[in-house]
């Protein structure tokens, strides 16, 4: 029972943990990684059918459970803990949030139903913010004869390979729009990720027909980016908790110089440091989820609180995994030991959707440390002024 979670959220956590311990133990995770599938189809189906996890954020009238980012955060912690390879973050968190944010049920209702029951998979191609550099997307939208078309390249789209639908944030002549395209109509080239439990592709679009969802979507994209950052924080928090358990277990049983290594102060302090990171990451990830769940929060406030979490987790998360390897010594440096899988996850999550420096810069803007942007900057919804 964790007292910063509701009884229901505690129950959900126990249920998901039991499910994943049974269905996605380390051996199964390794099988999925080696097969290169990105997910175990049976687990995915059961997550949707038995537990309804893919529909957590989808409103009840569209077949989902209509719960909040707080409950979703608990599930993401467990997914991070189990290192479950799946397009869950892309489809059930990021894509669903984009569609809900765009608030256009006419255009997106069917897709949301499909995402909720796990029968469809979607992902989001951002105009910027995943990689945090210039020109990560060159996609632009045009409307030649009544129908929208997208052309350009996106350097990286998470789970594009598994997706049926790619949602694309792209500039139009008037602001940013959100568009849905059939993934099969795009050219997807798989990338090799440091995190072996995640997949991504670069995506090229040439005059791909697109359905527009909702209106001006600059703020929607900013909020979805905040959601994505918070989701990675929750994943990382769960991973860090497992890393802590691993380090402590090892320190208790491994003997050196005639006693358990956990009796040595240096090992105690390494474990205490990992504990500090795991506890703090969990606390800030849940804090970020609460801020996303707050209906009254402004975009600026959501950005501040989620960036707070991402700045902390990006600055310290990988440290927990690195110290865990240090506690393990040589054995932690082997392929067979899971320590590196967690290191890869935590290091990768550190850099995706903005590193600590980028999120601190965003916080500085929201906190007013920066000179206010000139009016013409605000109109340009892409790039770093978009989030002022």
């Amino acid at each position: 029972m964790e007292h910063d979670l509701s009884p229901e959220a505690n129950e959900l956590r126990d249920m998901v943990r039991t499910f994943l311990e049974r269905k996605a133990p380390e051996s199964a995770v390794r099988t999925t990684i080696e097969a290169g599938h990105g997910r175990d189809e049976d687990v995915w189906t059961q997550m949707a059918g038995q537990l309804g996890l893919q529909g957590l954020l989808v409103p009840e009238d569209l077949g989902g459970q209509g719960t909040t980012p707080v409950e979703m955060g608990v599930v993401l912690e467990e997914i991070g803990r189990a290192l479950l390879p799946s397009p869950f973050v892309s489809s059930s968190v990021i894509a669903v949030s984009a569609l809900i944010g765009a608030d256009d049920t006419d255009a997106s209702g069917d897709l949301l139903r499909g995402l909720a029951d796990g029968s469809r998979i979607a992902t989001v191609a951002f105009s910027s913010g995943l990689l945090g550099r210039d020109k990560e997307s060159t996609v632009a939208a045009s409307e030649p004869e009544g129908g929208w078309q997208l052309s350009g390249e996106v350097a990286a789209v998470l789970d594009a390979g598994a997706a049926d639908t790619i949602l694309v944030f792209a500039p139009t002549l008037e602001g940013t729009g959100l568009f849905a395209v059939e993934a099969a109509a795009t050219e997807r080239t798989p990338l090799t990720l440091l995190d072996l439990t995640r997949q991504a592709s670069s995506v090229r679009l040439v005059d791909v027909p697109a359905t527009r969802i909702g209106g001006e979507a600059g703020d929607v994209e900013a909020r979805v980016l905040a959601t994505a950052a918070a989701a990675l924080c929750a994943e990382s928090a769960g991973a860090a908790q497992r890393v802590l358990e691993m380090a402590v277990e090892h320190a208790k049983v491994r003997e050196q110089f005639g006693k358990p290594i956990g009796a040595f102060q240096a090992v105690k302090h390494l474990c205490a440091d990992i504990f500090t990171v795991a506890e703090s990451a969990t606390a800030v990830a849940r804090h970020a989820a609460r801020s996303l769940a707050d209906q009254d929060a402004t975009l600026g406030s959501v950005q501040l609180e989620t960036s707070l979490a991402k700045a902390y987790v990006s600055e310290h998360g990988a440290d927990a995994a690195e110290k865990n390897i240090q506690v393990h010594g040589g054995i932690g440096y082997t392929w067979e030991h899971p320590a590196h899988l967690y290191l890869r996850k935590l290091k990768s999550n550190e850099l995706l959707f903005g590193d600590a420096v980028a999120h601190r810069a965003q916080m500085a803007r929201v906190l007013g440390l920066k000179a206010p942007a000139a009016p013409h900057d605000v109109v340009d919804v892409r790039g770093e002024n978009a989030t002022v």
Partner: protein
């Protein structure tokens, strides 16, 4: 009326006239006066029971009151060790006679200090050597305490002494309540690295006190003390939210609107990193509060708040200097210098970082001693 509204009304009425006399940053004497005023409304320790001078509030209400006082930037009270530590222990373990001290503690007319540390103990608190020997109906105390905060101002001391030298070290200790004017006590302030003298050495030479000075059972002083330290628990939550206010106000002072310029990218990043750390301490405090609300006890996050706070405080003091630049060390910014020097004690006083990490690893994580 809601209790916090009542407190706000009280402060609206009493704070302005107090400030007119004592200013924004009152001296110790001013803080004593303020404590007296505050206690007229029973606001010094509203979580204490009504008969002891409090209002019987629960921990959440009490913390809400702390927040209000912080919002108003009300002066700190003066007799903090009596209110935060000694009082609650007396309330739990004291005789009726000893409990006579509780109201004066709140009013600030009886100031207390705590004699725990000794020159030879340091991190090993239970290794204390100051002895008290029963001679008829009197304890005879000989020994020395050190790092005794506020001893030079206090009237009384809550003292840990060894009463059974044969017993294992945690088991032969008793707690005594001793008036500091008792013959044989000598108090020497210790000048700190920033020039202030907040701590003292206290010497005991054949100091005689009646048997009734004993607080709690004989030879159970360690347990009695741990109770006292336990009372600091919800204090950590208050402390964590004070950290948040501090860092928020510091960041605010560097906002473009107030400062009129942007910081260099490096300093901006460093300042926001401190902001993140400070806020994390605050969020851990909130998490702790949820545990306290639900169970009356903080959760395991409690053990890292002090650790993280102490490191944060030291880093923040360095950031303050960095923000001031070389000007800071060359006279322009004495406040930053003082806070840098003061911050050194954060990882030492009340348990060194090293010892706290050991304790955390052993008690929370279950690693072998």
């Amino acid at each position: 009326m809601n209790v916090t509204d009542e407190l706000r009304e009280f402060l609206d009425k009493h704070l302005p006239p107090f400030r007119e006399v004592w200013g924004e940053r009152p001296s110790y004497e001013g803080r004593l006066v303020w404590q007296g005023i505050l206690q007229r409304g029973r606001w010094v320790a509203p979580q204490w029971s009504k008969e002891n001078g409090g209002r019987g509030l629960d921990v959440v209400e009490a913390l809400a009151c702390s927040e209000v006082l912080a919002d108003y930037q009300a002066p700190a009270t003066a007799g903090i060790f009596g209110v935060a530590n000694v009082g609650p222990t007396i309330a739990q373990w004291g005789t009726d006679e000893q409990k006579q001290s509780l109201i004066p503690i709140l009013e600030g007319t009886e100031l207390w200090c705590q004699g725990f540390s000794e020159p030879s103990t340091g991190s090993d608190l239970a290794g204390l050597r100051t002895r008290a020997v029963l001679d008829g109906d009197e304890f005879v105390i000989n020994g020395q305490k050190i790092w005794t905060s506020d001893a030079h101002r206090a009237h009384q001391i809550q003292l840990l002494v060894r009463t059974d030298p044969e017993a294992p070290k945690h088991k032969g200790i008793s707690a005594l309540l001793v008036p500091l004017e008792t013959p044989g006590i000598e108090i020497r302030p210790i000048q700190q690295i920033n020039g202030d003298a907040e701590f003292c050495e206290v010497f005991f030479t054949d100091v005689r006190v009646p048997r009734s000075a004993l607080l709690g059972p004989m030879n159970q002083g360690w347990m009695v003390t741990m109770t006292t330290l336990g009372h600091e628990r919800s204090g950590v939550v208050t402390h964590a939210s004070a950290v948040v206010r501090e860092i928020e106000s510091m960041v605010d002072s560097f906002s473009f609107a107030k400062a009129g310029h942007e910081l260099s990218p490096h300093l901006q990043d460093e300042l926001i990193e401190r902001y993140v750390e400070g806020r994390v301490v605050g969020i851990l405090g909130e998490r702790s509060l949820e545990s306290i609300k639900a169970t009356g006890q903080p959760g395991s996050e409690q053990s890292i708040i002090k650790l993280e706070w102490s490191l944060f405080t030291q880093r923040l003091s360095s950031t303050r200097l960095a923000l001031g630049g070389a000007d800071a060390v060359i006279g322009a910014d004495e406040q930053s210098n003082m806070s840098y020097l003061q911050a050194r004690s954060a990882t030492i006083a009340g348990g060194t970082t090293e010892v706290m990490k050991n304790i955390l690893a052993q008690r929370v994580l279950g690693l072998p001693a």
